[in-house]
Amino acid sequence: MRFEGTEDYVATDDLQIAVNASVILERPLLVKGEPGTGKTVLAHEIAEALGAPLIEWHVKSTTKAQHGLYAYDAVARLRDGQLGDDRVKDIGNYIVRGKLWEAFESETRPVLLIDEIDKADIEFPNDLLLELDRMEFHVYETKQTVVARHRPIVIITSNNEKELPDAFLRRCFFHYIAFPDADTMTRIVDVHFPDIKKRLLREALTAFYDLREVPGLKKKPSTSELLDWLKLLVAEDIDPEELRTNDPAKLIPPLYGALLKSEQDVQLFERLAFLNRRERAGN
């Protein structure tokens, strides 16, 4: 089992090594990186490449570690008890399995995605230490210990909103998805738009990297925004000539709404473009 990227996903050498290390040594892989560089997609692609089932656990600010293990539906049991239902005698009927349990029960070795772990409370990662280490946990209500049949491949993503505790980090491998350089970006675009016009792509990439260089942008456009923008450019059949930023009349790239997501950024960019144009006119 070696992960080498898939048809739809370009994995750089360092990413491949990180994934393979965590698959072979059975350690969770913590993935960080700018938004839109394909952190969540990675888990999907690993599952696809290795032919493993994918179990996704999306973390929210209210998520507790316990939710991943199991929940005890006390209200249902109370209701059944008051209605005199026979089910009430077996407490196991009211144990609702969480994502982690699901992953532990899987017939084949699954990929478990714990998405945006930093959204949860600060204590969340600490509460999962033992479970991720030993891949087992205890259900107090039924006095049963759930042990993983196959240690799942665990992919954890974080957007850095909270710092993760050291003890947790020590148990993970870590990979930071750097923003792709121009070569990698061309490969990524090739994968998504195999028959895009070469010239359009070159102009679009130039415009895109120029835009990322603009100082003071609140949210720099990332890979996913670029792909959206290209989709629009192809759909609208934009002439590559129009992307040339050295035409003073058209300094803002067409359909820029796909690239700039905040009102302030658009204004900033327009202002810079205006100043730029005035400077050119002055020369």
Partner: protein, 393 residues
């Protein structure tokens, strides 16, 4: 050799423990990186480094420790490079055009002579820059195949694209903790101050308590409520405005906007250079006088955490003497007022946007730092982190 990497990393304050080291050994044992330094570099990085802030440090240490693993390049200042061999290789590799460029620089001999001089001058390994020999930068000497006049030293031709090694590119420099600061980084740092507490009206269902009290109640439902959990940290933020603070406005704006979203209980005031008998809420009202500092001291209780933001660079008189203020006649010295603040609010941090290595040139920074009992921190991600840690103690 691996042990050396491990200990040098620890020395460089990259947090690595025995566990990571054993993991790396296990990975090597399973044959994850064989016979390829680049693969080994990626593997070691993924296992040993747990935070993108440390990647840059890791790159530097890796470059330092594994210098000898690659074909010898420029071991250190005293390395002998067989000139004949270099000359031969250079002639093989260079196009006529490039040779012409060498001529333009004073000819091959001149190039070699300068190279020798620099080698002799150079002390230890060097990365980046424009003059010294190293990998990166625009010096014509060193293993950088992109430079038209660059001499590739000790590289065999098949790897010319990676004359600059991956770790030597130092692509993660920007992510190092002490460099840049942005709203997002600030927010992450400010979150250290979070102190969740249940306060106010009971609005949430407390399921566990409801169950246990229902059980105690003989099965009759007894609903229990608890107040919602909120961030209960209270912060009093005082900003220095105007004058010498102008270059730092953007950073302060970011700090302010981050603090606004992060704390529910945030009070802020402005001052100029040093705190005196009045503070103000809106910058344009400063001439008209603002809130008396006594009122501020009396309004906000001692459990507020006080954060002062200012460069603390001014004339020593502005701190030490009554009447020293540049804007008005102050009855009591700035020092008196600062000490009053520190006495009222035991949890104090002074954030200074001035780079820390320049602090020693300004005597007033030392004075202020002494007044706040050494709790002055640079306004960098790391400094902010330390400040928040100090405040939550």
């Amino acid at each position: 050799m691996f042990a050396e990497l491990f200990y040098t990393l620890r020395k460089a304050e990259v947090p690595v423990s025995l566990r990571e080291y054993l993991d790396l050994m296990a990975a090597m044992d399973r044959g994850l990186a064989e016979y390829d330094v680049e693969e080994f570099y990626y593997l070691a990085r993924t296992i040993l480094v747990k935070d993108e802030r440390h990647i840059d440090k890791f790159d530097q240490v890796f470059g330092h420790v594994f210098r000898g693993l690659e074909p010898p390049e420029f071991e250190d200042g005293t390395a002998e490079i067989p000139e004949e061999w270099l000359r031969k290789m250079g002639e093989l590799d260079l196009t006529d055009e490039e040779k012409a460029q060498i001529e333009a620089m004073g000819g091959w001999d001149k190039l070699m002579e300068t190279l020798r001089e620099r080698l002799a001058e150079q002390d230890g390994r060097h990365q980046g820059g424009k003059k010294w020999i190293g990998t990166q930068g625009t010096s014509p000497y060193g293993a950088n195949g992109y430079n038209p006049e660059g001499v590739r030293i000790g590289q065999d031709g098949n790897r010319n694209f990676s004359a600059v090694k991956v770790w030597d590119r130092r692509e993660f420099k920007d992510l190092d903790g002490d460099t840049e600061i942005g709203t997002r980084n600030i927010k992450v740092a400010l979150r250290r101050l979070r102190k969740f507490a249940r306060e106010g009206a009971a609005e949430e269902l407390d399921l566990d308590d409801t169950i246990s009290s229902t059980a105690k109640n003989g099965g009759w439902l007894d609903v229990r409520m608890v107040p919602e959990r909120r961030n209960a940290a209270k912060v009093l933020l005082l900003f220095d405005v105007g004058g010498s603070m102008d270059p730092h406005i953007r950073m302060c704006e970011e700090l302010f906007s981050a603090a606004r979203t992060e704390f529910k209980h945030l009070e802020y005031f402005y001052f100029h250079n040093c705190v005196y008998e009045s503070l103000w809420r809106e910058n344009r009202r400063r001439r008209a006088g603002g809130t008396p500092t006594w009122d501020v001291l009396h309004t906000y209780p001692a459990d507020y955490k006080l954060i002062l933001v200012g460069d603390a660079t001014m004339s020593p008189y502005e701190i030490a003497h009554p009447g020293g203020s540049v804007e008005h006649w102050n009855e009591e010295s700035g020092e008196t007022w600062l000490r009053r603040l520190v006495r009222t609010y035991p949890q104090v941090a002074w954030l200074n946007p001035m780079p820390q290595d320049r602090w020693r040139y300004f005597p007033t920074i030392g004075m202020v730092s002494e007044i706040v009992e050494g709790r002055m921190y640079p306004l960098t991600v790391e400094g902010l982190d330390d400040a928040m840690r100090g405040l939550s103690r």
